[in-house]
């Protein structure tokens, strides 16, 4: 049965050091505490809607050392950061922080979903997610609001300094 064979994990492919990589990443410090109770999944609005996202499974995959599968996955980008699991986790794993830590590692490996690439480009060019043109400022004036001045230069320098643009533009 090839289907079953595909679902078998070959221990030879695992990278046991992945857990240390995550532990060293800001936000990943607590992930070894997970005892797989599933409280996170039970309250998760995304898991309630799609089987693609299952935080408990992601933690197990990471603990097993399934580095490539996790880093190249779509699912680590599906945490909506609602913090429901964060408040309820009996082990204080801080799952949204963990997902963020894994995302940061994935980005350094060149895995940046198109939506995040686009947002980074907007930040690079405008210092904000929405460009401010004369049109926006005219609409603001009509509503009696003061104009907004774009300050993209400082944000661009910050993004360059932290290496984000290298990954996004590569």
């Amino acid at each position: 049965m090839p289907e079953t064979r595909e679902r078998i994990i070959d221990v030879g492919d695992l990278e046991p050091n992945f857990r240390n990589e995550i532990l060293a990443e800001p936000g990943g410090e607590r992930f070894m505490r997970c005892f797989s109770c599933g409280t996170c999944v039970a309250g998760c609005p995304v898991a309630g809607m799609t089987e693609k996202y299952n935080p408990r499974r992601i933690v197990r995959m990471a603990l097993l050392g399934m580095r490539q599968e996790v880093l190249a996955s779509e699912f680590v980008w599906l945490c909506s950061t609602c913090y429901t699991c964060y408040e309820r986790c009996p082990q204080d794993v801080h799952i949204p922080d963990l997902m963020n830590a894994i995302r940061n590692i994935a980005v350094r490996e060149g895995h940046v979903p198109p939506a995040f690439r686009q947002q980074a480009e907007l930040l690079r060019d405008h210092g904000r997610l929405y460009e401010i043109t004369n049109y926006e400022n005219q609409r603001r004036q009509e509503a009696g609001l003061p104009p907004i001045q774009e300050r993209g230069d400082e944000v661009r320098r910050i993004l360059v300094r932290s290496g984000v643009l290298e990954e996004v533009e590569s």
């Binding site: 800001p26 936000g27 609005p45 995304v46 309630g48 809607m49 799609t50 693609k52 996202y53 779509e74 980008w77 599906l78 945490c79 909506s80 950061t81 609602c82 913090y83 429901t84 964060y86 408040e87 801080h94 949204p96 963020n100 830590a101 995302r103 940061n104 980005v107 940046v112 979903p113 939506a115 995040f116 686009q118 947002q119 980074a120 930040l123 210092g127 904000r128 997610l129 929405y130 401010i132 926006e136 609409r139 603001r140 509503a143 009696g144 609001l145 907004i148 001045q149 300050r151 993209g152 400082e154 944000v155 320098r157 910050i158 993004l159 300094r161 932290s162 290496g163 984000v164 990954e167």
Partner: protein, 303 residues
């Protein structure tokens, strides 16, 4: 009371009704909101790419407010949690603050000492003005209207960064603020559910499905609308309401108001002054009831 008004990216472009109502009601209540030239994105969208980049972006905004000796008032809940969380890290971890400051001064010439406090406008209303005074100031009878309150996630969570402001599992502050306007609070199922906005750009179908869940719950009540305090939540429930109706073959036509708009109506401002015309889903009842109304009802009755 003076605060630097931090607008973020979304509010000044996509939620001008919210911004106008917040500025008007703040002015009415004696809260001075100061515009600082130089605020940029809070760092929220950079966090998944690089925690450092997000911290630096947040620190740069905080340092700007600090230069002016002002605490910060936010309108977007995502900006709030990003700035409050970064602020907590920078205030409590001096080694981290030193490292971030070295990078910050190199790139923007600023340093952040850690003296600024960041609060959402709704929290400032709750803590500094208080429901009792809002009730006294509310001169217009709103008891004919009922609203379903949506707290959203980042106004309350992660709770530890908000130092016990409200209970994330059983919150009451925003409900108290709505009740203070005289409008009725309409309870509904799963009030704490997330809007799905955090993954709209990554997986729109799932995000819209999440938003639909709450619209379904509110729709079966007799609420005249929903009350939100975050532009992301509004984008999900109001701006995307038509898409959800089409995609799932349902019909809601449920008005969604920003809390300061409701507060402004209670304080005597007109529907026009609270920019209800900019709300995507129009509330005919509210617009009818509050159009042409004098700004100071007391003075009008004298005339």
């Amino acid at each position: 009371m003076r605060f630097a008004l931090y607008l973020g990216c979304t509010v000044p472009v996509r939620a001008m009704n919210y911004e106008v109502a917040a500025r008007r009601t703040a002015d009415h209540l004696g809260i001075e909101l100061v515009d600082l030239d130089g605020f940029a994105c809070c760092g929220y969208p950079a966090k998944p790419l690089s925690w450092d980049a997000a911290l630096l972006m947040a620190a740069n905004n905080l340092a700007l407010a600090e230069e002016h000796g002002l605490d910060v008032c936010t309108l977007c809940s995502a900006c709030t949690s990003t700035l409050v969380e970064a602020n907590k890290h920078l205030q409590e971890d001096s080694a981290l603050r030193a490292r971030i400051n070295d990078q910050l001064s190199e790139n923007t010439g600023r340093r952040y000492a850690g003296t600024v406090t960041v609060r959402h406008y709704a929290r400032i209303l709750y803590e500094e003005v208080g429901p009792e005074r809002l009730r006294q100031e509310s001169s217009v009878d709103l008891s004919g209207f009922g609203f379903a309150v949506h707290y959203g996630c980042h106004f309350l969570k992660p709770a530890h960064i908000y130092d016990g402001f409200d209970d994330p599992e059983n919150p009451h502050t925003l409900g108290d603020l709505v009740a203070a306007t005289g409008a009725r609070l309409i309870p509904y199922e799963e009030e704490d559910a997330c809007c799905g906005g955090g993954i709209l750009a990554v997986d729109p179908d799932t995000a819209l499905g999440i938003a639909k869940g709450k619209l379904d719950h509110v729709h079966i009540t007799d609420a005249d609308g929903m009350i939100v305090i975050c532009p992301f939540c509004d984008i999900m429930y109001e701006i995307n309401q038509r898409s959800i109706e089409r995609q799932f073959d349902v019909s809601y036509r449920l008005p969604v108001l920003y809390y300061p708009q409701l507060l402004g109506l209670a304080l005597g401002y007109s529907a026009d002054e609270m920019q209800l015309r900019l709300n995507r889903v129009k509330s005919r009842e509210l617009i009818q009831a509050f159009t042409g109304r004098a700004r100071c009802p007391g003075a009008a009755s004298n005339g």
